[in-house]
Amino acid sequence: MTDDDRPDDLDRLFAQARVTPPAGLALRARTRLTAMRRAWRLTALLALDLAALLVLGWLAFRLGAASQTSGALPLARAAMADYHMAFEEPVPLGAALLALVPWSYVLLISLNALFVTGLTSAVLRRAGALGQAGVGGSRR
């Protein structure tokens, strides 16, 4: 054993000291770790939510283009501009409008909107649970 390995006064002092951990340290550490994992999971869900929103925007763009090409939007604009004629002939105008709307895009947008709404609600609910647990900023 060299001189460096022999215990000195400080080593003997630490060996004699009784060190007790703060109360509830393990629980607090576990809670903090759980909160961090939840936060990362929520971030991943948020990324998925944003991607779904981008898809929604793209589908809306395609719906606009398809509605213009099919004549649905020009007909709707004409009916709004000439509302007297629209009031006189509501049934044929309405039937023509319904026939011209690109319903496949409307369906896709509706499904996407439902998905985004559900996902956003779930994310905010979980964030609420995180906030209520009081783990945000509770550093000691």
Binding site: L56, F61, S67, A79, P92, L130, V135, G137
Partner: protein, 151 residues
């Protein structure tokens, strides 16, 4: 980084009502903006191609008097409800004396269906928005119009 994320999500959790409304408004803005942007970049498929009637692009007011180009929206008891290239609604009145033409040959009223593009020769009626047709010429059939619209 993790600590900041926890703090951020905790803050969002406390203000989730505000965050929810912001998300809803963002979704609505994205939808509306997307539709407007898509529509602005596309053409009216019903009238694809150059106008058959000179001046028909700007509407019946500047078309040669007595002629209008329109796409048929619906059949009516005494004619057709149609939309001009300029976006005006017009009631085309036909009677027993009205002549129909399709593909350069004489035809009958069955040649005119919904989504058919027609060039109508006649005169404006006494009431605004009514056009009394002497000749109705089919410029493009309904099936061709649908094929162009679906492209």
């Amino acid at each position: 980084m993790s600590e900041r994320l926890v703090a951020l999500w905790s803050w969002l959790g406390v203000h989730r009502l505000l965050a929810g409304w912001a998300a809803a408004l963002a979704g609505l803005a994205l939808c509306g903006g997307g539709i407007a942007l898509g529509a602005s970049g596309a053409e009216d498929g019903a009238f694809a191609g150059p106008p058959a009637v000179a001046g028909a692009v700007t509407g019946p007011a500047t078309s040669p008097p007595g002629r209008v180009e329109a796409v048929v929206i619906a059949r009516r008891p005494r004619g057709y409800l149609a939309r001009t290239r300029a976006g005006d609604l017009v009631l085309i009145r036909v009677d027993a004396r009205t002549r129909f033409r399709a593909l350069g040959r004489a035809a009958d009223a069955t040649a005119v269906q919904r989504n058919t593009v027609v060039v109508v020769q006649g005169a404006p009626g006494a009431r605004a928005g009514v056009f009394r047709a002497r000749v109705v010429a089919v410029r493009r059939g309904a099936t061709e119009a649908s094929a162009t619209a679906s492209e």
